[in-house]
Point group: C2
Chain length 753, copies 2
């Protein structure tokens, strides 16, 4: 983390200086009631009562070191490596991507089968019970049975999330977005998170909550990638001694992109959509080979899922289930019809913080969902004839005549994936407009309430379901108004467009979502209308409020770097943006100084420019490198001191392997013991520092700095004057602070929360 | 163009120093017969007898100025622009992309309809003639008729290409690849090129050559984009006074990416494939908004084509023709089967240089194609029953029984697009193995011969056709060998895989080609096998020889930058790579000096670091900016001299508009008259130079320089020492020189050819 004590040289905020200076005196108090908002976010770790503020930028998040450190150790290693060595590395990258795809596909398959089996049992039992009591009376017993079933599953899901791994709550997509953007989010790619996530999502979906199992697949894929690529598990304390070369942030982030893509691919059967998702959210520099590997992982993932699901469905070789959700195939034409929707925002404003209360809240929601669904079904009198080709697996007859089924039950008494497919594909006339209207309303409120819960769950499917319902409703109404009923006939098309609009309005992904929808429908003809609808939804939505994931990211004050610097910011230069003064180290530095600098908790810097004095009498010291906290920690741990090296001539030379072994959980400075004698020793950083860090002159404009930072995935950018002296350091937070508000360029404050 | 006189500091090539120094004494002579090869390339402009050499790097190609010049004029303009101004710019970018898509779609539609109509007339006439003479005897008259038809069309096509615009020959894909890579290729995006290309491709396809009309669409889309985005046509001397802001290389290249994508999209009905093509070939820095606009253009393009073709086919609203070629829909399953093919290289080794000879050669090939086809059909006795659902539009009965047709004629007597579709979809047993084998061989040789001709034509369709033919042949043979005939039954699947393998082996595009094939088949299930086949084809092919387009690019010695620096090049530093000494200009420089520097034809630099002397007595001058030749030319033209500005106080201040008006054809220095008095004036470059050019220290490694260069699309990168003094300049050629050969890192020589 760069320098926090910031000299404010920009006049307009001079009066705010000091607010970000020492600790967070302003923020922990209650002086800013207008700006702060108490929000509990289900998905960002163990909930605490933190005053959140959208106008702040948190300092607790670290960046990934994406830039390659080309120090002497690295060059030596490269020189030792033969051409074949590079080949082998390349091949093992492919193998890792194949493994990521395979495992992600397997996990998706596992979730799907378990959900199908458990939900099948649940619906069968409840259905039999309802049928038993429909004529005999006493349907309230069925309701209780249903509610108890739901609550029990949800309880299990909520307990493991709330007590074991709170970060597994929600879909995990905002966290993965941040990770791919280059921000370390603690515990997000651990094995424990994966296990809790998978079990949690099974429980919430089987528990009948208004959630989907697609979003969590993206997170799962990312965890798989982070695990497989490292060749060891820190949680299980197993090191397989493979893929050691990949133990650094650069490689890991690349693999996590592949994992996220494989997750999307498995969730929607959309390998190209997965690649575009990873690129849209993550990659800044387009690397052909990397993209190709990401695509490979996606392909393997969807193929694995397809293969095993085909076997499970006893149709081996059929390969017709490329994703967790398949919209079925739209064959006929669509009229390019564009609607505008005003974006709806899921309020995430739940105020429960203690784990036991969270579990109880989740159970309450599950029970209410069952009750509301039951009531809706009970009072609905929309009976439809039971055709030979109906899509429902559990048609409820209830009070309908023989050979008919309750249409409301299609929507409520079903897994949401099936309901979406029914809304897309059922014959015109399968749904009564009143049924659809009521369903849309109720499900919308259920989904909003559910969203804040501490359970693993995605928002894709509920959005699609709500959109499909009102889309179909709109189609029916339009058909009844227009005279030319044949052209505007198929309400399934409207359901598809509505689903796209709703989902686009909520998540605001555009490019990847279009491709995902096109791949999931399997028809490129719908591409243009879907794209236009998504664009409209995004434009209209952005006018009111940001996308759901961005709101999340903002509420957590994450220093997220967008694609480009805000327009009209060319007049801001590196001099105004940078943090200064900078703590620099000498090329040959006293150990005591280094320990003191690292132990200084008030600054907590992570990167230090290394300088060298040119002439004895000259006080100007020129930049000659950059060294990271993690490197210094390893050097201190191995006591790489000049004096010791002289005394023990046969001491083993430090290698890159030592740094890799310590990755990624470098010990804190407090755990390293340095004796008083050793404090007087000297440390030579020449071999270990990055000798050619990227630099910019202080007159460089913000967009230029931003572009350099984003394109190269930097963590530290040194600002130098025309004598090559260090005068400042630009880090992620310095850039993320500026954003385009309603009144032109705005600046966020930095805070330690 | 950077400094050519290169101080050779790298020991291993010290003995070669001077070879690239002055002019090209070694190259124009015949001292290097072993390395040089005389090749006439059909597609790279007016053919001359140039000694080509794959080990050389030409200096005649310039780079695009992709980096934004943030000088004072730019900042002032930005300050004047309101927030609404930026919005309007953004909206007009979208409008331009929409227009590009629409016009590209229209052009594709025009080509398709004209080809369909003309080919229809041709085949009808020849068919009637054949039918007339089959029983009466005298089929040689039919042959002559057919050959004359073909030669006539091809003659027209060859004449316009050879005499009017030689750069319109071939598919144009290598040129577009280079343009997107950041290299200016003269005349490649002009209106005249477009007209010749469109007419030429119609003539060659109708003329029955073994060519396709898909490749040229990519070039056409790029020309449309370059034209529309500039709001004027230099050829037609019309300036519409719109889109003036886009008159610079950065914006133009972005739009050309969109145009190329729209071209791919129209050619194959693959909008996502188009986006990936543009990204794979061009974009280095992934920009979300740009990608989204590219996708928009692609979508509009395929939709326009689809819409107008539907009307043409009298099925408005059907929208089933998203691309020029549609493979039809594969519905059933495929077994994932991987083959290796050794890549086949189309020899482009034709030695005809005079336009009239080129035309005659093209006519000869057309006549031979007709003759060979006719002979093959004549001697074939592969008769198939004429089913109710045959795909052929012109089934030839010839010597077959009534109700049967000649199977060989399906392949030869048809547009290649239809033949491909027949090979994919016809029932098992429609083709005799012998027919397929003969067809593959003949067509392969015809395609090879055709490839070198001076006609506008693509290589996609011939490749697909050859691949489909041997794929189907392989499928038939496999089915006859294996006992379990039902599983390996459908030879159409093998045809698809074979087509993918052949095409992949020739063009070596991987990511985009997979997506294009998947989109064209409309079934994601084939994704994995297609991808595996393409990967195998690429790996096997790369082992022997580079891809067709890369061979082209290499033969022309274009300084093409690949994705990454060669591995094992970290030990090379900027000091060894850079060109030096550098011609620098002072911030306030004498006009005479500037004119002399610009007039020096032996160096012909395009970018000049601007330096400033810090102290009077100090001779060290520090870097303070960078200025381009084109900027200096405009300054000289407008006589922006310090003395004149003082004398004429009310002189209009130079604005960015003046630079945009001169873009892109800046006058040469020779056309600007500077009197002897004016030579003594001074010019102040402060306002116009880029004040913060990117710099690197001299110890920076080659991969690091490369990454910076590629990610930011640079043209000049200044190398400075630790005093911020200019010591060298890195340009595209300095980086493109290094490549990984058989014996490790190799260096190409620079040449003026």
């Amino acid at each position: 983390m760069a320098n926090i004590t910031k000299k404010v040289s920009w006049s307009s905020r001079a009066d705010e200086s000091g607010a970000t200076g020492e600790g967070t005196p302003l923020l922990n108090g209650s002086e800013q009631p207008r700006h702060s908002r108490q929000v509990r976010l289900a998905c960002w770790g163990r909930p605490k009562e933190i005053p959140h503020n959208e106008k702040l930028l948190s300092l607790k998040f670290e960046s990934l070191d994406y830039d390659n450190i080309e120090n002497q150790l690295f060059l030596e290693e490269e020189r030792r490596m033969s051409y074949m060595g590079f080949r082998c590395l390349e091949i093992s990258r492919w193998v890792v991507c194949g493994l990521i795809g395979f495992l992600t596909g397997l996990i998706a398959c596992f979730i799907d089968i378990v959900v199908e089996e458990l939900a099948g049992i649940k619906y069968q039992v409840v259905k039999q019970n309802i049928e038993k009591f429909t004529e005999a009376g006493g349907l309230s017993i069925s309701l209780i049975l249903w509610a108890v079933f739901n609550s029990a599953f949800v309880m299990v899901g909520a307990i493991i999330v709330a007590y074991f791994e709170p970060i597994a709550a929600g879909s995990g997509i905002p966290q993965i977005k941040c990770y791919l953007n280059g921000i370390k989010i603690p515990r997000v790619v651990r094995l424990k998170t994966l296990v809790v996530k998978v079990c949690g999502v099974i429980c919430s979906v089987v528990g009948g909550l208004a959630v989907g199992k697609e979003g969590p697949m993206i997170h799962s894929g990312a965890v798989v990638a982070a695990g497989v690529s490292q060749g060891r598990s820190t949680s299980l304390k197993r090191d397989f001694k493979i893929f050691e070369y990949f133990r650094r942030d650069t490689e890991k982030r690349d693999f996590v992109s592949a994992g996220a893509a494989a997750g999307v691919s498995a969730a929607f059967g959309a390998p190209v959509g997965g690649v575009l998702f990873s690129l849209e959210e993550g990659a800044s520099f387009w690397n052909q080979m990397l993209t190709w590997r990401i695509f490979f992982a996606s392909m393997i993932s969807t193929f694995t899922l397809n293969f095993f699901l085909s076997i499970y469905h006893n149709k081996p070789g059929d390969l017709s289930s490329p994703g967790l959700i398949n919209f079925g195939r739209f064959e006929s034409d669509v009229r390019n019809l564009v609607w505008r929707i005003t974006s709806m925002r899921f309020p995430c404003s739940s105020y429960v913080h203690r784990p036991c209360l969270q579990v109880m809240e989740a159970m309450l929601v599950a029970a209410v969902t069952a009750t509301v669904s039951f009531t809706m079904i009970y009072f609905s009198n929309d009976c439809q004839p039971l055709g030979p080709e109906h899509n429902e697996e559990y048609p409820l007859q209830l009070f309908c005549a023989d050979g008919e089924y309750n249409s409301m039950a299609t929507a409520f008494f079903n897994t949401p994936e099936r309901s979406v497919r029914s809304l897309f594909h059922n014959q015109p006339g399968s749904y009564n407009p009143l049924t659809l209207g009521l369903f849309t309303l109720t499900y919308f409120f259920l989904a909003c309430w559910t969203y804040g819960l501490a359970v693993s769950a995605g928002v894709f499917i509920p959005s699609l379901l709500i959109g499909a319902a009102w889309g179909r409703l709109f189609g029916i109404l339009l058909a009844s108004i227009t005279s030319n009923a044949t052209i505007w006939a198929d309400p399934g098309k409207y359901a598809l467009i509505g689903a796209a609009a709703q989902l686009g309005g909520i998540v605001r992904m555009t490019l990847s979502l279009t491709v995902i929808m096109v791949e999931a429908t399997g028809n490129v003809t719908y591409g243009l209308p879907i794209m236009l609808v998504l664009m409209t939804a995004k434009i209209v939505g952005d006018y009111f409020v940001e996308g759901l994931y961005d709101i999340h990211i903002k509420l957590q004050s994450v220093p997220f770097l967008h694609w480009e610097a805000p327009a009209t910011s060319h007049w801001l230069t590196a001099r105004e943006v940078m943090s200064s003064p900078v703590t620099c180290l000498n090329r040959i530095e006293k150990v005591g100084t280094i320990v003191d600098v690292l132990s200084n908790t008030s600054t907590n810097h992570n990167g230090f420019p290394v300088v060298v004095q040119v002439a004895e009498r000259d006080l100007t010291s020129k930049l000659c490198g950059l060294i990271l906290r993690s490197q210094l920690i390893v050097l201190l741990k191995h006591k790489v001191f000049v004096e010791l090296a002289r005394s023990r001539l046969n001491q083993r030379k430090l290698q890159l392997k030592d740094f890799r072994d310590a990755y990624p959980r470098f010990p804190p400075i407090q755990s390293i013991h340095v004796s008083q004698d050793e404090r007087e020793c000297m440390m030579d950083l020449t071999e270990f520092m990055n000798p050619t860090p990227y630099t910019v002159p202080q007159e460089t404009s913000l967009p230029r700095v931003f572009k350099l930072f984003r394109a190269l995935g930097l963590r530290h950018l040194v600002v130098v004057d025309d004598q090559n002296r260090v005068i400042g350091l630009v880090t992620r937070k310095d850039l993320a602070r500026y954003h385009l508000g309603k009144h032109g360029l705005e600046e966020l404050q930095l805070a330690h929360t």
